[in-house]
Homo-oligomer: 336 residues x 2
């Protein structure tokens, strides 16, 4: 049984906890026999939910945690004080080696802090980025970093590029992924101080397929597979994508309701439109990995439903079987 | 005749020069008798174009310039060497006081450099921002800065906030505009070093209506009228908006063509859909003012057609009649 992929799941994190989280966990163990889940949360609540389902009990265990970290809580304080919270207990399962990975839809801040403080970084990794997978016209891209490293240094970005490249190649399955750095123009001399200093360092990396500067305009079109940036810029890009899509879709829906003719037309195009909207939703592509830790942490959307939880649990299989962290260790040589 | 608004128009800048530029200039002088245009460019070409139209000749003058600055040219070099280019000559018309304003669809880099070097900044203004007007769900917002100030300082951002607020109130006509700072969360303690230092300074400004942090996700929804940011973040936001809209619309169009039923439906909804797309295009809202200069510079899209040129020329009227630069001088006190 030693090759099971053991995933700690924060049953209490997110807007739809515990109902959707428990459902997603059950779906994951039923979908793949390599998965073992530790559902961490309030035992009575979680067990009650589990009664709804049929599943192989030997691969789904409930771990008791009495406290819950709320989204609004200051992350550092929450991680320090709520030792018996579902998130802290789940992180400890990864830290002590009981689990290979953690999936949580809980507070991003608490996950970022806990990942660094409890699970800890791989030796040589200076900052651990959070890297959501975003939809593009041609597939998906990894936006690395959208986490906490808002005042990143060039060497951090170089590490993000390497880790992102490894993840996209071996977990998402894109051969020789194109790595670009987010910039305000494609010419080499463009950019702020951070990007200008990082560009030549990336150019020298022989272990990534660096394609140079990438403009935000071209990211949704799919110009690169790994988009390297500091977390501030990454956040602006990610949230703008979400905001524009949401407003545009609302406006289109209102337009479709504007007359009898458009209403009839709307019925005819509805399924096609729905498919487009779904394929371009940032919520449809599983959780965001937090990379560079002694274990995998996957942060899913706060609004995650069962499908995203299930997919996020399943993506831990490739992470373990492809030995992603060993590959990161090989490519990130600690400075002496 | 002294109260005419005199606008220098770069007839050779942009993808559709000179045809659409000349057309837009003619439309502007025909639309409003307060406008006087100086069309700067290759005289024979421009005069040939003008033959197509009827217009009051006393308010439309051709100024000869033999050279053209191309989009790809290094801006500093282009501004320095091409003294007889349409852009440099148009800028000199503003500098020497012959014109109040300049409209160009030419190279953004050259416009930014020329604005600072040739026209020059208002005393006390440290950096001159480029501030596009972007569409939102509720109207428009000013995104300040999307220009060249990629490593801005807190005091620059404070000046951007004041200038942007004045512009939105007196040129665009939004009373007491809400000013927000672009950030990765709404809580006061969030952000990178620049935003954290700028926030308390903006809070202290009694002459703006500061509403705090604004997330990129909420910008398209119209959460604030003036979005303050450094040019790197502004650029990422603006270009992501353009990129996402473009991909989403392409995908929707493809979806509409996917079956016979959707094709019929598409015909019925086409006008409504077109209206939505148009209302949410960043190209539909006139040019971006470059603020804080001794005169107004309006940068229009490289792909500008006559309508954008006309609207950009017409927006110079409010700028002059509302004495925007006097208002900027009042609110930006030079440090001694």
């Amino acid at each position: 049984m030693y090759d099971l992929v053991r995933v700690a799941v924060d049953a209490m994190g997110g807007d739809n906890a515990p109902v959707e989280i428990v459902k997603g966990a059950v779906e994951a163990v039923n979908a793949d026999s390599r998965i073992q889940v530790y559902l961490v949360g309030q035992e009575d609540v979680v067990s009650e939910e589990l009664k709804k389902y049929t599943y192989p009990a030997e691969r789904l265990e409930v771990v008791s945690a009495t406290e819950v970290i709320e989204t609004g809580e200051p992350p550092v304080m929450a991680i320090r004080r709520k030792k018996d919270s579902s998130l802290v207990k789940a992180m400890n399962l990864v830290k002590e080696g009981t689990c290979d990975a953690l999936v949580s839809a809980g507070s991003t801040g608490a996950i970022l802090v806990g990942g660094q403080v409890i699970i800890g970084r791989i030796k040589g990794v200076d900052r651990a980025p959070l890297a959501p997978i975003i939809p593009t016209a041609t597939g998906v891209a990894l936006l690395i970093d959208c986490g906490a490293n808002v005042d990143a240094k060039p060497l951090n970005l170089v590490q993000f590029a390497k880790m992102g490249s490894i993840y996209m190649e071996h977990v998402v399955g894109i051969k020789n992924p194109k790595v670009g750095i987010l910039n305000i123009g494609v010419e080499e001399e463009k950019g702020n101080a951070l990007v200008k200093e990082t560009y030549p360092l990336l150019k020298e990396c022989s272990d990534i397929h660096f394609v140079g500067n990438v403009e935000a305009r071209d990211v949704p079109a799919g110009v690169a597979d790994v988009i390297v940036c500091d977390a501030f810029a990454g956040n602006v890009l990610l949230k703008t994508m979400e905001g524009v899509s949401s407003v545009l879709i609302k406006k289109i829906k209102a337009g479709l309701m504007s007359s009898l003719v458009t209403k009839i037309g709307a019925v005819m195009i509805k399924p096609a439109l729905k498919g487009v909207v779904k394929s371009f939703s940032t919520e449809e592509h599983g959780g965001a990995p937090m990379l560079g830790l002694n274990g995998l942490v996957v942060k899913t959307h706060g609004s995650s439903k069962a499908a995203e939880i299930r997919n996020s649990i399943l993506q831990c299989i490739a992470f373990k079987e492809q030995n992603i962290n060993d590959k990161i260790r090989e490519h990130i040589v600690p400075e002496i």
